[in-house]
């Protein structure tokens, strides 16, 4: 076994092993420490003994013993909290059930705890990435543009809140499930969007975050059956991500949808996404926002070229979206699609009206959409001004280079 292979196994199994350990030992911090102990033992042994038959069960069993050791040591040192620790020892020494249903529920328990609505959205994302996805604190910190120390503090406070405020380690019951699941999906989508188009920095994309978001959605789809919103979100992410190879040049420059080489798109991922969209839209009840967004992505994925895209249907789907979850961002996307059906002048009217209502103040893509429409209308000076505004509004280097390229093109012609 090479260290790289072992690393991959830890990555795949850490979240699940941790989720079971938390249930067995009843404490987040103790479970994390115990899992780290178990990982250290694995790193020592596995290269020579080879991989155990069931690595997750191995990590849970060794971790559980390490937790018992840790508690015994702390009893010896402090001689207090006896009643509590007794209970813990009893729980922890109960045989590790191989009941798969129970183990699957552990993972859901962990996800719902990390995405508890009593945490700020940012904290939910950070906790999920750290504990469910097993990213290091440094990797999580990078996504939030904070130092590793600051992120470690934030995670520590969150874990303290779990314990001190009595946040339950359970899957919400039937009545509470739908709203809580929406919260979980919002976290998954936040992880995805940050990975799909980073808010700042040198790189447009962070494929690690995209991969984690898709992995989480797959997991949720497997653990909670028959939920259209999960299938819709998974489809949406798969379809967006299928274009990854076409979205940047080798040098890291942005390639917009209209200029992308569609042969670079991931066909297998598109087929999977298309199937899921169908499934999500067939579910009983009103269409869900994620599924409709995925349906729009599906039309792009199926189109042979930018021009030969079913823009009329895309405009219609945006109108459906505006009815089920109205937002200024969707209005802006709707306007951009209208430009392809009714022309840029009509779209510019919509964007101007939207801007006048003040709903998109500070939204960094607003000047970019305006600039693009003005350019297509041949209004060069106004377009240049809008591209400069768009440049000032973003902290993402590839986007800045793209706007500069557009300005240079206009100056040449």
């Amino acid at each position: 076994m090479t260290p790289v292979e072992i690393e991959k196994i830890f990555r795949d199994e850490a979240g699940r092993a941790l989720s079971t350990l938390i249930r067995l030992v009843g404490d987040f911090d103790l479970a994390e420490d115990a899992l780290q102990d178990a990982v250290a033992v694995a790193l020592e042994r596995w290269p020579t003994t080879g991989l155990p038959a069931n690595p997750r069960a191995w990590l849970v069993n060794v971790g559980r013993n390490k937790a018992i050791d840790r508690v015994r040591r702390s009893i010896a040192f402090r001689g207090k909290r006896e009643a509590l620790t007794h209970e813990l020892l009893l729980n922890a020494s109960a045989p590790c059930d191989d009941d798969n249903g129970m183990l699957e529920d552990d993972m859901l328990r962990l996800i719902f705890t990390c995405c508890h609505p009593s945490f700020a959205a940012e904290v939910q994302v950070a906790l999920t990435l750290r504990t469910v996805c097993g990213l290091t604190t440094a990797e999580v910190a990078r996504g939030f543009l904070v130092s590793e120390d600051a992120m470690a503090q934030r995670l520590l406070r969150a874990k303290q809140k779990i314990r001190l405020a009595g946040i339950p380690y359970e899957v919400p019951d039937r009545d509470a499930l739908a709203p809580r699941l929406n919260g979980v999906l919002a976290v998954v989508y936040l992880v995805f969007t940050e990975g799909y188009a980073a808010t700042s920095g040198e790189d447009l994309m962070r494929p690690d975050l995209v991969r984690e978001a898709i992995r989480l959605a797959r997991l949720l789809d497997a653990l909670i059956s028959g939920r259209g919103e999960i299938k819709g979100l998974l489809a949406l992410m798969l379809l967006h991500d299928s274009r990854r190879a076409g979205r940047t040049t080798a040098g890291g420059d942005i390639v917009l949808l209209e200029e992308q080489d569609r042969t670079l798109w991931d066909r297998a991922q598109i087929s999977e996404g298309l199937l899921l969209v169908e499934e999500a839209l067939r579910m009983p009840g009103r269409p869900q926002s994620y599924a409709v967004q995925a349906a729009i992505a599906a039309l792009h994925a199926r189109a042979p070229s930018y021009e030969d895209t079913d823009w009329r249907q895309i405009v219609g789907l945006y109108e459906v979206l505006l009815r089920i979850s109205p937002s200024p961002v969707i209005e802006l996307n709707h306007a951009a699609a209208v430009a392809m059906v009714d022309g840029p002048a009509r779209a510019l009217d919509l964007v101007n009206a939207l801007e006048a209502r003040g709903g998109l103040k500070g939204y960094e893509l607003l000047p970019a959409v305006r600039a693009d429409l003005l350019r297509r209308l041949g209004r060069r000076d106004a377009a240049r001004e809008a591209y400069l505004k768009a440049t000032a509004a973003t902290q993402l280097e590839p986007l800045r280079r793209y706007y500069a390229r557009r300005i240079a093109e206009m100056d040449r012609n």
Binding site: L164, G166, I167, P168
Partner: protein
């Protein structure tokens, strides 16, 4: 676990309520309190007089200083509390959401510290 539910609302707005609105609110509180007594969650609970009646005390260098009014001027003021027993935060949040003032003000849910 025990939680303190701190009830905040805008005093000035509450003062504008007419007699029938006040009567309705009082009845809602009576029904709510009764329900959490029956469910075994209730430990204690009281309403507070207006912040105009508050005095804030500090001791500095051994000297007691008093100021007229509440500790901090805020948009919403502390107007009452419940001390409850709940199995976990979800149960506590569910009870907090049923406090009549939750519809116009805010309820801060604070776990009680346990020394062990």
């Amino acid at each position: 676990m025990q939680y303190l539910l701190l009830i905040y609302r805008n005093e000035a707005e509450q003062a504008k309520m007419d007699a029938s609105e006040l009567q309705k609110l009082t009845a809602e509180y009576r029904a709510f309190t009764q329900s959490i007594i029956q469910s075994g969650n209730f430990k204690a609970g009281d309403a507070l007089q207006m912040t105009a009646t508050a005095t804030t005390v500090r001791v500095r260098d051994g000297k007691m200083l008093t100021t007229d009014g509440p500790f901090a001027e805020t948009r919403e003021q502390l107007g009452g509390y419940y001390l409850i027993e709940a199995k976990d935060l979800d149960e506590a949040l569910g009870i907090a959401a049923r406090i009549p003032t939750a519809k116009m003000g805010s309820i801060e849910v604070r776990p009680i510290m346990v020394y062990d």
